[in-house]
Structure formats: structure tokens, C-alpha cells
Amino acid sequence: MAYVIAQPCVDIKDKACLEECPVDCIYEGPRKLYIQPDECVDCGACEPVCPVEAVFYEDDLPQELSAFRTADREVFDGLGLPGGARGHAPLAADHAVVDAVPAPSTT
């Protein structure tokens, strides 16, 4: 069980949650932030500080955002437990579910 970061974060990446996370388990991807689910300790510090309300407890994810339930876990496949985001390079690629979100209109 862990917290997950859903669609509202895409192309926003406010990063208020990074400051709050006591175990430094929130990693930056190109378009979204990701919570490493095995490093997350379920403390919930990230959830109330998110200005766009993108952070949900896994079980509380709204139906319309259910595609994001496993994105944070799957994006770390092959990366294992990086052991803390500070000093770790941003993730090279986003999860497919994030790629599928249309880019914001520039007009």
C-alpha cells in the first residue's frame, strides 16, 4: 500500500510534496512526479500540501483516475529501490499512462 500521484500532477509538478516527504521517496519524471511505493511509508504528508490535489491513498483513488493506480509502481520497474530522490537523476521517461495524457494546449 502506498500513496500515488495521479493525473492532476501531469505538466504541473509543483513539487511541494518533495519538501514534505520525510523519506525522500518522490521522484521526478519528465511530466509527472512519482512515489516509489516500496519506499513510501504511508505517512500522508504529501497529500494535503499538493495544490492540485493529485495525491491519493491508493485505495481512495477516484474511479476516473484508476489508470494511475499502478503507474507509480510500474515506472520503477528495473530501478528497484533508488534509496532517496535527492542526488538521483530525474527518471528518463514517464509511464505510458502519462504519455497518453494530451499535452497542454499552447494557444
Binding site: 500500500m1 514534505e20 520525510p22 523519506v23 511509508v41 505517512c43 500522508g44 534509496g83 535527492r86
Partner: protein, 353 residues
């Protein structure tokens, strides 16, 4: 799974099936403030427990009063949220009468060092087979932010608006002074180190005291930032490893040596000349003197030069074993006792009214 060398741990029944972290999570909603360091410690303990491979029914977490003392609710083991400061006393009874249990105490700086100070030191000197996890956040969190026995001098809180006057306890020094056979310190957010220390504590026969620096993000936020910030930590944290020379700082450029003039420990720049003087950490030393000196290296205000790891780990007779042996001898000499007969005996007094 850990190779359990500790003879006493072998008295505890093994789990029938392989366990996972999930097996140690209870169905209770965890209620600490969002961001509390207790979450990180809980996750580390739940993650470590399967490694021990003990039957959950034979594991007990006993706590006192305080935020940390909610811990037993969240462990899917037996547990008891007991009386303020008295967890070591209750756990002593359990550990001595039921040697088939793995008994853990969860306590905080207020519960263990103020309210229950006496119980703690006597458990340590008796060397009861307990594993005591002391969450030290240097504040009273549950009662909303008064200074604690580990708060730095001059701490401004609601109860000390002009700054506290008390000199703080150093829990590691206190434990070594109380004859503890195992004393370690670790940090809530360093899961790897915390798990290593838990492993060493679990394997130790006798009382193990583990001080865990824990952030209270509401009433004492950032108390241990000097040890957590990556750049600062290089200069502030001294990682103790048994058998290894004690070096720290950027590029391990500093070293701990014994000052020949005073016999005390000192920090010097690590040079070729100093090479032979660098202290090699011996956690198993019979004398507690060097472990105590190491515990005094840290500056209580800035936390600079804070050693973490196992300060002391020595084997000496365990209270539970001595008591069991004594009971065996008594049974041999006098036969099995009869509590009922004792209570209903005729050695009675009548109090005149």
C-alpha cells in the same frame, strides 16, 4: 532469513510459512500526524520482522504512553498499550515468565527517560531479554509540544517560554551507564541503517536499547536535519562499524583518536601521521569506557559529530535464563510449589477493629 545465532531466540517458535511485510500490518488505520517519523519506523519494523521468521503469535510489542506508544495497534502481533513509563516492567514480567515470546518495547523520550526512567535503567541492568526501541524526538508530542528530557537547553516551548533550564539526557550514555549489554542509535529516515540495527538488536541475547532519532514534524520539526541533509550529514554523522577505524567527514577526512594527554576521545584531520592513532571501533569491548566516550562526542545542540550504529554489544548473563535456572533448582530441592496452598495457608493475622 537471518541465521539466528541467539540461543534465546531459538526458544521462540518459528513461523510455519514464509512471511511478508503485509503479514505484520494490522487492520487498524494508522493515526499519527501526516509526515511523522513514526511511519518510517513502523514501515522499517514491519519490513524487518519477516526476516526473523518467528511465529506472529509469539511476538509481543509492549508500549507505554505517547505518540510512539500507538505502535502495538499497527503491528499484527500481540501487543499492549500499557501504563506510562511502565512498559519495561510489564515486558520484564512477560519475558521472564514466557521465554517462548519475542518481547519488544516501544517507548519515547518522555515515556522512557522521564516518567519511566527508573523502570528503564533497571531493565537494562538486569539484562532482561527485551528489545527496547526508544523513539527520541526531543519533545513531548502527544501533549502538544512541551520540552522533554532530551530537549536541548534553552528550548522554547509553551511550557518554557523563556527557554528550558534542564540539561538533557543522552540516552546512549544513560544506557551504557546503566550497564546495558547492547546499545545502538539510528535514524528514522535511514531505512537501511535502521534495519541493520534492528537485526543486530534482535540477535542480541539480553536487553537491547535502540535509540531512534525521530522527527516530530509538528512540534519539533527538523530536530535532526543536521544528520539527514546529505551534504551536512557527511560532516555530522559518524558511522560506527565494529572492527573498522572510525573516520567520517567529506572523503573520510576526519578521524577519532584518543587524546594521549587526557585519555578522552578527540577528532583530528586524518593524515598519514595520525593513521596509526585512529580508533578502531570495538563494540564487543568488555569495558564500556570507550563506548561511553563515543556517546559523548556529539554536540547536544548542533548534533555535530553524532555517532550512529552499535556502540556496545557484549554478552553477559540474561535475567530470564538465571531466573529459569533458579526455579529449576528450587523445584529440585523443594518440589513444585502450590500457590493455592500458600494463599489458603494458616499463617494469617487478624486485624483487630
Amino acid at each position: 532469513m537471518t541465521d539466528i545465532g541467539n540461543g534465546l531466540l531459538q526458544l521462540v517458535p518459528r513461523a510455519e510459512a514464509r512471511q511478508s511485510m503485509k503479514d505484520f500490518k494490522s487492520d487498524q488505520e494508522v493515526r499519527w500526524c501526516p509526515g511523522c517519523g513514526d511511519y518510517a519506523i513502523l514501515a522499517a519494523v514491519q519490513g524487518f520482522m519477516p526476516e526473523l521468521g518467528l511465529a506472529r503469535e509469539n511476538i509481543v510489542f509492549v508500549s507505554g504512553i505517547g505518540c510512539s506508544s500507538r505502535f502495538p495497534y499497527y503491528m499484527n502481533t500481540y501487543g499492549m498499550h500499557s501504563i506510562h513509563g511502565r512498559a519495561p516492567a510489564i515486558a520484564t514480567g512477560l519475558a521472564t515468565s514466557r521465554r517462548d515470546l519475542s518481547v519488544w518495547v516501544v517507548t519515547g523520550d518522555g515515556d522512557a527517560l522521564s516518567i519511566g526512567g527508573n523502570h528503564l535503567i533497571h531493565a537494562l541492568r538486569r539484562n532482561v531479554n527485551l528489545k527496547i526501541l526508544l523513539f527520541n524526538n526531543r519533545i513531548y508530542g502527544l501533549t502538544k509540544g512541551q520540552y522533554s528530557p532530551t530537549s536541548e537547553v534553552g528550548k522554547v516551548t509553551k511550557s518554557t517560554p523563556m527557554g528550558s533550564l534542564d540539561a538533557p539526557f543522552n540516552p546512549v550514555s544513560l544506557a551504557i551507564g546503566a550497564e546495558a549489554s547492547f546499545v545502538a542509535r539510528t535514524i528514522d529516515s535511514d531505512r537501511k541503517h535502521l534495519t541493520e540495527v534492528l537485526r543486530a538488536a534482535a540477535e542480541h541475547p539480553g536487553t537491547a536499547l535502540v535509540e531512534i532519532y525521530q522527527n516530530c514534524n509538528i512540534f519539533n520539526d527538523g530536530a535532526f536535519d543536521a544528520l539527514k541533509d546529505r551534504q551536512q550529514a557527511e560532516e555530522t554523522v559518524i558511522r560506527l562499524e565494529h572492527g573498522q577505524p572510525i573516520r567520517f567527514g567529506a572523503g573520510l577526512g576526519k578521524a577519532v583518536v584518543r587524546d594521549p594527554a587526557t585519555g578522552d576521545l578527540a577528532v583530528v584531520t586524518d593524515t598519514d601521521e595520525n593513521e596509526s592513532r585512529v580508533l578502531v571501533h570495538d563494540a564487543h569491548a568488555a569495558s564500556p569506557a570507550t563506548a561511553f566516550a563515543l556517546s559523548r562526542l556529539a554536540d547536544p545542540d548542533t548534533l555535530h559529530r553524532t555517532p550512529i550504529g552499535v556502540f556496545r554489544s557484549v554478552e553477559r548473563p540474561v535475567y530470564d535464563t538465571l531466573m529459569a535456572d533458579q526455579l529449576d533448582v528450587a523445584h529440585e530441592l523443594l518440589g513444585k510449589g502450590d500457590l493455592g496452598a500458600l494463599l489458603a495457608g494458616n499463617d494469617t493475622w487478624t486485624v483487630a477493629g
